[in-house]
């Protein structure tokens, strides 16, 4: 109980910039929930839970809460939305991006300290760049969906898994070097 009070005190005493960053996480959570609903996924209980999780991300961005939200959100989409491309994928992905970036920035600095304008600007620009890349991926995915014939069997999956495994090996090697 005391921890919750401390978190609430942290929010109440936070600087205006910090509050804005935390609220961007909440905006991302609401955007994802709306996109999920528009894509026909989930149910009122899942939407309510996502909104509550979004509020908890605002309250404790430096804990496991943002991770819990992201995993729950991805699982909700997987379980609730039929496979394939959907236009609501884009706002959903951007919503996840906002939740992650907002929580990461909020957890990086003391809540009571004002954020320099240059930091806010740089994070906004970078988020825009990633959003643009995401839009490109979303567009390519839609294009592929339109031209895909369904042939190829398990080959794309195997290639993809091999790619992920390769990236993971590279990452572990890099960690070992450091």
């Amino acid at each position: 109980m005391r921890d919750l009070v401390d978190l609430w005190v942290d929010v109440r005493s936070a600087s205006h910039d910090h509050l804005a960053v935390r609220l961007s996480s909440l905006a991302g959570a609401l955007l994802f929930t709306l996109a999920l609903a528009l894509a026909g996924g989930g149910n009122p209980a899942a939407w309510a839970l996502l909104t509550v999780f979004g509020g908890l991300v605002v309250l404790q961005p430096h804990t496991l809460m943002p991770g819990l939200f992201l995993v729950f959100a991805a699982a909700s989409w997987w379980a609730g939305v039929d496979g394939g491309w959907h236009w609501a994928l884009l706002p959903a992905a951007l919503g996840l991006l906002l939740v992650h970036v907002g929580a990461a920035l909020a957890a990086s600095v003391p809540a009571q300290a004002p954020l320099p304008a240059s930091v806010r600007r740089r994070w906004a620009v970078r988020t825009g760049v990633v959003a643009a890349v995401t839009t490109g991926v979303w567009g390519v995915a839609g294009l592929l969906q339109a031209v895909a014939t369904g042939e190829g069997g398990a080959v794309p999956g195997i290639v993809g898994l091999a790619l992920v495994a390769g990236c993971l090996v590279l990452y572990v090697q890099r960690l070992g070097r450091d």
Partner: protein, 457 residues
């Protein structure tokens, strides 16, 4: 978190969650043929790759200091941390741990927020953008603090941290040792028009009982050999019997003011420079005011602190620097009771003609005995009662919740009244500290007594 563990770059929960999400969603998407999941986690994957590629490796060196070695109560100082610029670090942050009587100076408008313990949240943190070329290879973090009570105030420890791109890697928080900020007491407003009794020195602003070179008019008297021509009073000389008259004056002299501060007890809780003072707050500020006043007049002032913990002394001296030395000594007072002091063995460095101003809460028998012994030696002793509140002129009632403790306090106050009457009966005036003019009546009375004694002898 241990310092050794904190003093390296580590993955943050942000990196871990993006890794978990990507590694969880991508195989599921590939195995279950769900390309929509790939699109969903695409921005997180981009952030993950970006973070890993730009991971910082160098550890920054840092130094921490204060902008001022000493300040007055209520004044501000800056806690400054210089952190070496390293590749990959994008944001630097510093935060000071809360400390008694040290508050942060917010850089934007804030409202008071109390924590779970009812204490106000202090805005003692700062963030700087560590991108771009730094000045002299280091980034400077500045946190404004205000010391709200005299004493050696603890500033810090300061926690320093840095994060890389997307907040995925963090260095710190590394705790730097706390710093001591000497906070000089803010002297309360004090002024006295009464002269110091029985001045002894050769120069000063007090009127001597003896005629001599000075500015205070004494009388007109016939001219004598050796008188200066500029002292001839021409109106009287031309009007009278053909004799020359000169203006005689009293000599200007200084005095030795020995300030004794009773620091055996600190009664009441201190609210800082803007709050309700404790008894030791009143003692220290009154002593500072008395010392500054007499030093400004050109008198010689010495200081002695009566306490078991800090037997501090400042020898007699004069001038502005001596005043700072006295304030510096006052700010190092730590209350500690001692009841076994033999006043005859304590050498206070006071001689005949010294004005002794003892500032005391008059709770410790030691201080009362000292005052009585000094008065018996024929010195001019004034005791300033620091337990009386200067606003309402009364002693604050006990704040204890225990009825027994409140009763004990009332009994002690009755005893204290009796002790004060006893010491007054021995000729030691006891006055409450009420700001300007507190000592006027007493000093005049002591001056008259001194002159009468001089005539009798």
């Amino acid at each position: 978190m241990s310092t050794a563990r904190a003093d390296r770059w580590q993955a943050t929960p942000a990196l871990v969650r993006s890794l978990v999400l990507v590694l969880g969603a991508v195989p599921v998407a590939l195995l279950w043929r769900r390309p929509d999941l790939l699109v969903l986690v695409a921005p997180i994957a981009v952030v993950l790759v970006w973070s890993v590629v730009t991971r910082p490796r160098e550890l920054p060196t840092r130094t921490v200091g204060l902008s001022h070695a000493q300040v007055r109560e209520g004044e501000q100082a800056l806690a400054v941390a210089d952190v070496q610029a390293v590749a990959g670090a994008e944001i630097l942050a510093a935060a000071l741990s809360p400390a008694p009587y040290v508050e942060g100076v917010p850089t934007e408008r804030t409202r008071r927020v109390d924590d779970a313990d009812g204490l106000p949240v202090s805005h003692t943190s700062a963030v700087v953008d560590a991108q771009g070329p730094p000045a002299a290879g280091t980034w400077r973090l500045v946190v404004g603090v205000r010391a709200t009570r005299w004493g050696v105030r603890r500033v810090g420890p300061m926690q320093l941290a840095a994060v890389g791109a997307w907040g995925s890697y963090r260095w710190g928080p590394v705790s730097e040792a706390a710093l001591g900020l000497r906070t000089l007491p803010q002297p309360t407003v004090f002024d006295t028009r009464a002269p110091a009794p029985r001045p002894r020195g050769l120069v000063g602003t007090h009127r001597s009982a003896r005629p001599g070179e000075g500015t205070e008019f004494a009388t007109l008297r016939p001219f004598q050999v050796g008188d200066r021509l500029r002292r001839i009073h021409w109106p009287r000389s031309t009007r009278g019997d053909g004799q020359l008259y000169v203006t005689a004056s009293y000599a200007d002299q200084d005095t030795h003011v020995a300030v004794l501060v009773d620091a055996h007890y600190d009664l009441g809780s201190s609210g800082g420079v803007r709050g309700r003072p404790s008894s030791l707050d009143r003692s220290v500020r009154a002593a500072a005011a008395v010392a500054e006043h007499f030093l400004q007049q050109g008198d010689r002032v010495s200081l002695r602190v009566l306490s078991a913990r800090t037997p501090l002394t400042v020898p007699v001296g004069t001038g502005r620097r001596h005043g700072v030395r006295i304030l510096d000594t006052l700010c190092r007072i730590v209350p500690a009771a001692t009841e076994e002091t033999d006043p005859r063995r304590v050498h206070l460095g006071v001689d005949e003609g010294t004005l002794v101003v003892m500032v005391s809460a008059l709770v410790s028998p030691d201080a009362l005995v000292q005052a009585a012994v000094l008065a018996r030696r024929g010195l001019s002793v004034v005791v300033v009662d620091a337990l009386v509140d200067s606003q309402d002129g009364t002693v604050a009632p006990s704040a204890e919740r225990d009825a027994l403790a409140r009763a004990a306090w009332r009994i002690r106050m009755l005893e204290r009244d009796r002790e004060i009457r006893a010491i007054q009966a021995q000729g030691v005036p006891v006055v409450p500290w009420l700001g300007p003019g507190s000592l006027d009546v007493v000093l005049r009375r002591l001056g008259r007594r001194g002159r009468a004694a001089g005539r009798l002898s």
